[in-house]
Structure formats: structure tokens, C-alpha cells
């Protein structure tokens, strides 16, 4: 342990000398959360609407104002058959409503009349939502003219009473912020360690370390201690920003959160060191770090893309992504107020991952030193 602390002291001195790196690691993460937490959401509003009104009656205008007054659509252009294609191609409109001539008269005489809605489908997710908005608006507009519907009609046999727990207003920030915390903590930890061993190898200082009376395990532990402290400070900074500015609640206990965070960071640092120990050059280490930490944390952790929707083979891969466990635990502690007894499986998985990574890194180094 004394040896490990000596390595930690040496590493810390080196970190402090590189002021730019230190400041970036400490403060940029919290700034990032501020920027992205504010910028990102899935709430689709202000869809640019093109209108092709061939009818020009009170009824057709009522349909158009129903779209505009819904709050989801902004009237962006008056279009015709010829200009629709170009506007859609350039993404200047997200949807187009085409009202055929004769709509007003037909509605008043009780005949069914088609109204066409064209939706720009290049973003399938947005398009699905926009389609839902359009259908709802047209149905409620339609009910005004239909016989047997409306106030005098029978209520439907089955109705649903939806209730949402943990995030009743369904704010997407509350869902994205924990994901961003995991993402930022992961890259901070991996960026800080992935090059550390490879650098010593590349510069030839590894020989000196090898000659020192030092075993691989205390070298690895010593290397991770200062970065652990730095990552923990910066991760707590992010969480405080999230709570102060994005109304992230804290329904569980701080000690549970600290435990989950520490285990996650230890695993991430271990991964960084393992990458560093198997890479001969810093360039290889960087590339491996991107592929092993950055992309999986973004795509395979359940942060943005739901794991339940992935094919079974890929779902199996996600069990190897530590952010997956951390996200379940973090959302559970912060949003649901669940205690350790609910998340011991995830915490155990994080602990196993951390031990495995740090262990493999030590073994790998010991082999290289022999």
C-alpha cells in the first residue's frame, strides 16, 4: 500500500503540472451537463407545416387553425402540388396538409371527405409522433360534423386511466440527465487513464518503473487513486449542477449514490488502465478507448436507445457495458428513491466489473515486466 501511495504521489505531481488537462477534467464535465441538459430533448414541437388549401371555405380554414392552435405545428408555407416536393426535399416543411376542393360543402351535407396529410419520414421517430398529432387533430375536427358522435354519443366501453410514476410530467430532461451523467463520468475516467501506461511505454520511462521495487498491482492501484479522486469530484460536480438547474430530484440516499458512483468510476478507470496496458502506443490506446468506452456507453447502455428493443444477441452484449448497471442504479436511487436492497444485483455487477478490469490490468502488466 505504501508503494501504491508513492506511485499515486508521483502521478498526482505529473497531473498538477499539466494545468490544462487538470482543469478540463475537473470543470468541463459540469459545463457540458449544463449545455447538453439544456439543449437536448425529445419533445417534438413547432413542426413546420405546409398548407395546400384548395377549398378556401370556413370549414377548411377551421381545419388549418386546428393544426396551428394545437401548439405542435407552425404554419411555415402555403404550398401547391409543384412546390411540395422541393420543400420536403430541403426539409423546409415537416408535414403538409392538403385540403381538396369541395371539403366545406361535403362536410355540411354529411359525406365523408378525405384530407391528405403528407409527413416527412426521414426521421422515423419524429414522423411517428407527428402522425399521431395529425390524426388526433383531424379526428377531433371530424367529430364536429359526424352524426352519432360527440356529446350525445355513447361513451366507449373501455377507457384507460394512465398514471405516470417518478416523472409525472414526462420531462425528457429527467430521463436524459442521468444518462449524460453516466456518459460524462465514463469518458472523464477513461480519458484520464487510457494513455497513462502507454505513455510510459512510448517514452521509455516504463523501464525505470520496471526496475523499481514495485509490483504490478500496487502500480495499477497507485495510478488509479489520483484519477479516482479527480473523476469523483467532477462527477459530483455534474450531479450538483443537475440538481440545482435541472430539478433532478434526490429521492434516495446519498451514501447509496456515492457507492454506485465509486464502483462505476473504479470500473471505468480499470478499463482505461487495461486498455493502456495492452496498447504499445498512445494512438492505439486512444482508438481502443473510443471503441470500448465511448461508443458502447452512448449506444448500448440504455441511455438513448432502449435495450428491450434490441435483438437478443445484442442485448447479451449490453451485459458487458458497465454503464447499463450504473444507469439502472442511478435512475433508481435518484428518481425512484429505491434503496440498496433493490439494486444489489447491479452494484454487485459493477463491483465485479471493477475488480475484473483492475485485476486484468495488473496481470497484463506483470507479464510484460517479466
Amino acid at each position: 500500500m505504501r508503494k501504491a501511495l508513492a506511485v499515486a504521489r508521483k502521478e498526482l505531481r505529473q497531473i498538477v503540472r499539466d494545468r490544462r488537462t487538470l482543469m478540463t477534467l475537473l470543470f468541463v464535465p459540469a459545463f457540458f451537463l449544463l449545455l447538453y441538459g439544456y439543449a437536448l430533448n425529445f419533445d417534438i414541437r413547432h413542426v413546420r407545416l405546409g398548407v395546400d388549401d384548395q377549398d378556401r371555405t370556413a370549414e377548411s380554414r377551421s381545419v388549418i387553425s386546428a393544426f396551428v392552435n394545437s401548439g405542435y405545428f407552425d404554419l411555415a408555407a402555403i404550398v401547391d402540388d409543384a412546390s411540395t416536393q422541393a420543400l420536403m426535399n430541403r426539409n423546409e416543411v415537416g408535414a403538409v396538409v392538403v385540403i381538396p376542393r369541395g371539403l366545406g360543402r361535403a362536410l355540411l351535407t354529411g359525406a365523408a371527405t378525405p384530407v391528405q396529410v403528407l409527413i416527412n419520414g426521414d426521421n422515423a421517430n419524429t414522423a411517428t409522433t407527428v402522425m399521431g398529432y395529425a390524426l388526433t387533430i383531424l379526428q377531433s375536427e371530424s367529430a364536429k360534423y359526424q352524426e352519432g358522435a360527440g356529446a350525445g354519443g355513447r361513451p366507449p366501453l373501455l377507457t384507460v386511466e394512465p398514471r405516470v410514476w417518478y416523472n409525472p410530467q414526462l420531462r425528457s430532461t429527467l430521463f436524459l440527465v442521468p444518462g449524460l451523467i453516466a456518459y460524462i463520468a465514463m469518458i472523464t475516467a477513461v480519458v484520464s487513464t487510457a494513455l497513462s501506461v502507454a505513455r510510459e511505454k512510448e517514452r521509455g520511462t516504463m523501464e525505470q518503473v520496471r526496475m523499481a521495487p514495485l509490483d504490478a498491482a500496487s502500480f495499477v492501484v497507485g495510478k488509479s487513486i489520483p484519477y479516482f479522486i479527480i473523476s469523483l469530484i467532477s462527477a459530483l460536480g455534474i450531479i450538483i449542477v443537475a440538481m440545482a438547474l435541472f430539478e433532478l430530484p434526490m429521492r434516495g440516499s446519498w451514501s447509496a449514490l456515492l457507492l454506485a458512483l465509486s464502483l462505476f468510476l473504479a470500473g471505468a478507470l480499470g478499463l482505461g488502465l487495461l486498455i493502456s496496458s495492452i496498447s504499445e502506443s498512445q494512438q492505439v490506446a486512444f482508438q481502443l478507448a473510443l471503441l470500448a468506452s465511448f461508443l458502447p456507453t452512448l449506444m448500448l447502455s440504455g441511455f438513448i436507445f432502449p435495450i428491450a428493443s434490441m435483438p437478443a444477441a445484442l442485448r447479451a452484449v449490453t451485459y458487458a457495458v458497465p454503464a447499463r448497471y450504473f444507469l439502472i442504479a442511478l435512475r433508481g436511487i435518484v428518481l425512484k428513491g429505491a434503496g440498496l436492497q433493490t439494486f444489489w444485483v447491479e452494484l454487485a455487477a459493477l463491483a465485479v466489473y471493477a475488480a475484473l478490469m483492475l485485476g486484468l490490468a495488473s496481470i497484463r502488466l506483470r507479464r510484460q515486466w517479466q
Binding site: A112, D122, L157, P162, N167, L300, L314
Partner: protein, 372 residues
């Protein structure tokens, strides 16, 4: 020009001497594309749902069977009371709990309107909204069928008949939209990384001094560094586009040649960006951090790759014009899905080319051989 040729040769030799790096830059993007291609779907399927059936009648079982048969849901458990369902939500093993109250089946048979309660886990707001929509729809359809079977309801007459048509992606496959994006992202990750280490490595190892004493000019150094990485990048381009077309069967409606040409322009900006980072950093650690924090992360989140730019607050939107990936995403997606050509895409192509030239110019200006 001959001097540039020698430098390119030296770089390629270095790449060859490091077989692991060569393997990574070729094999890794392919593996990633396979994984991300399957992962990057915003379609919501197999929503885990727990059903608390206090009724246990044939009607309630019929409703449960509907949920089991639906591709949108996967029923993880059927319990007897809603208290038993709560732990599923708390653990996160179910996203939604449907409670069927006692007397539901009898009520339906007497044609009394029934209310079913659904509790959704809102911590994933997006999935919760979508799955509540699915569930509401499934129950309404079931209710309408039941009501029609019990007593023929009068058909509605007249009104507006919505006819919705989705352009460019009629089946609303999010994969067709995401995979071109993943291609753009992977190219960015691989090429920026390679070039960002390019010059700073020579600085750190002290070999830049040796290059300084050669008659190599500044721009020759940059171009010589850039060309081999561009070669590797183009190789990756062919590989990932081939996988997108042949394996994932993404329709390519536009011209392949235009796509390749504009991808070349895009590589100019990603490689230039990497070299620029390389010239402003003094250690590889700094270069890596700058790339990850200040380039890759903003590009992923603010380019429209996942989060639509239209949804961002008005103050943030102008920032996205600084991001080359923004333009390239519009280009790849439009060529793949809409089949449009330069007549529509010229503003993006121009912006991308301008970006590439500007960042390369900056990199050359910054690479003062003296102070390096």
C-alpha cells in the same frame, strides 16, 4: 511534391509497423457498425409490462392474451393485485403495470363502461409516452371489438377521413434513418483520432525536431501527414457503405458517386480537425482530451445525429452550424432516403468544403515548425 511523397511513405511504414493500429482502424469500424446498426433504433418494441389481474375472468384473460400477442409488449408477469406489481416498476424489470379491477369481466358483459388503470415508469420519458400510446390503442381497439360483438353499435357517418402518407420512409423504419448517421459518426471517430495524434506524437517523442531540420515546408508536412490517413479513411468509407447497403439493405436512392465524392469532402474536414487539434496540443493526452471533450461530444449531441436540431432551444440552434457533421448528416440521409442530388444539397456541400479548407488552413498556420 517528392518530399510529400517521402513523408507519406514514412507514415505508411509506421502504420505497417504497428499492426494492431492497422487492424483497429479497419476491423473496428465494421464491428461497431454491425453492433450500432442493430442498437441504434428508436422503435420501441417488447415493452416489458406486468399485469395485475384481480378479476381472473375469461375477459381479463382475453385482454392479457392481446398484450402477449402484440409485438409492442412482452408480458413479464401476471400477478393478482396491484401491490404485487409495484416492485416490478421499482426494480425496472417492467416499464408499465396494467391493473384489471375485480368485476371487470362482468362489467364488460353488462356493457357498463370500464376503466383500466395503467401505471408507467416515467423515468424514461420517451419510452413511457410511446408505450402508453400503444397500450391505450390496444385497449381501445379491444373495447370497440367487444362492444361491436355484444351489440352492433351504430356506424359513424360523414366527417373527415384522414389519409396520411409518409414520404421517404413509408414503413417508418428508424434503421433507415439511423444507419447512414452511424456511418458518418464512425468515419468521424476513426479519422479524427488518427490525425489528432499525428503531429503531437512527433512532438512528444522529440522526432518533430528531426522533421524540422529537413527541407520540408509547413504545408508539405500537413499534406504528407494527411494523405495516408485519408487513404485509410477512404478504405473505411468503402467498407462501411458496403455493409450498410449489402447487409442492412438500406435503400440508396441517390447516386453512389455523389455520396462517395461528398464523403471525401467530409473526410477533409474530419482529418483537418484532427490535425488542428494535433497542432494546438503539446501532449497526446491533451490531444485526446480535446478531441473527446470539445469535438466528438458536441458533434454527437448537437449535430442532429440523435436529437433533432428543431427541438433544441433557439439559443443553441445557431451553434449547430459550426458542426461539420450537421451538414454531412443532411447529405448522407438525403442521398440515401430521398435520392436528391447536388441541386438540393449544394449549400451543405459548400459549407462542408468551406469548413474543411478553413480548418486545414488553420492547422497549417498553427504548425509553426519552430516552436513545435
Amino acid at each position: 511534391m517528392r518530399r510529400v511523397g517521402f513523408l507519406v511513405w514514412k507514415e505508411l511504414l509506421e502504420l505497417k509497423a504497428d499492426p494492431r493500429l492497422a487492424a483497429i482502424v479497419i476491423v473496428a469500424p465494421l464491428i461497431q457498425l454491425f453492433m450500432l446498426g442493430y442498437a441504434a433504433t428508436t422503435d420501441i418494441r417488447d415493452v416489458p409490462v406486468v399485469i395485475a389481474d384481480a378479476d381472473r375472468s375469461s375477459t381479463s384473460r382475453e385482454l392479457i392474451a392481446r398484450f402477449e400477442a402484440s409485438p409492442s409488449f412482452s408480458v413479464v408477469a401476471v400477478v393478482s393485485g396491484s401491490n404485487d406489481a409495484d416492485p416490478f416498476l421499482e426494480r425496472g424489470t417492467a416499464w408499465m403495470a396494467l391493473s384489471i379491477p375485480y368485476g371487470f369481466g362482468a362489467g364488460v358483459h353488462d356493457r357498463r363502461p370500464q376503466t383500466l388503470q395503467i401505471v408507467a415508469d416515467g423515468s424514461d420519458a420517451n419510452s413511457a409516452t410511446v408505450s402508453l400510446g400503444y397500450a391505450g390503442n390496444l385497449i381501445t381497439v379491444y373495447g370497440a371489438e367487444k362492444s361491436a360483438a355484444l351489440r352492433s353499435a351504430p356506424a359513424l357517418r360523414g366527417g373527415i377521413e384522414p389519409r396520411v402518407r409518409v414520404w421517404f420512409n413509408p414503413r417508418l423504419e428508424s434503421r433507415d434513418f439511423m444507419i447512414p448517421g452511424v456511418v458518418a459518426l464512425l468515419l468521424l471517430v476513426v479519422t479524427t483520432n488518427l490525425s489528432s495524434m499525428g503531429i503531437v506524437r512527433e512532438k512528444e517523442l522529440g522526432t518533430l525536431e528531426q522533421l524540422n531540420v529537413t527541407p520540408l515546408r509547413r504545408w508539405e508536412l500537413i499534406v504528407g501527414k494527411l494523405l495516408p490517413y485519408a487513404l485509410v479513411g477512404m478504405l473505411d468509407v468503402f467498407l462501411v457503405i458496403a455493409v450498410a447497403l449489402l447487409w442492412f439493405q438500406i435503400p440508396l436512392r441517390g447516386s453512389l458517386w455523389l455520396l462517395l465524392a461528398l464523403t471525401g469532402v467530409y473526410l477533409l474536414s474530419t482529418l483537418g480537425l484532427g490535425l488542428f487539434v494535433s497542432t494546438i496540443s503539446s501532449t497526446q493526452q491533451q490531444a485526446m482530451m480535446t478531441t473527446m471533450f470539445f469535438f466528438l461530444t458536441p458533434m454527437i449531441y448537437l449535430s442532429g445525429f440523435i436529437f433533432p436540431i428543431e427541438n433544441m432551444p433557439a439559443v443553441i440552434q445557431p451553434l449547430t452550424y459550426l458542426i461539420p457533421l450537421r451538414y454531412f448528416l443532411v447529405i448522407v440521409r438525403s442521398i440515401f432516403l430521398k435520392g436528391v442530388g447536388l441541386e438540393t444539397l449544394w449549400p451543405q456541400a459548400l459549407a462542408l468544403a468551406g469548413w474543411g479548407v478553413a480548418i486545414l488552413g488553420l492547422a497549417i498556420a498553427r504548425s509553426t515548425k519552430r516552436t513545435a
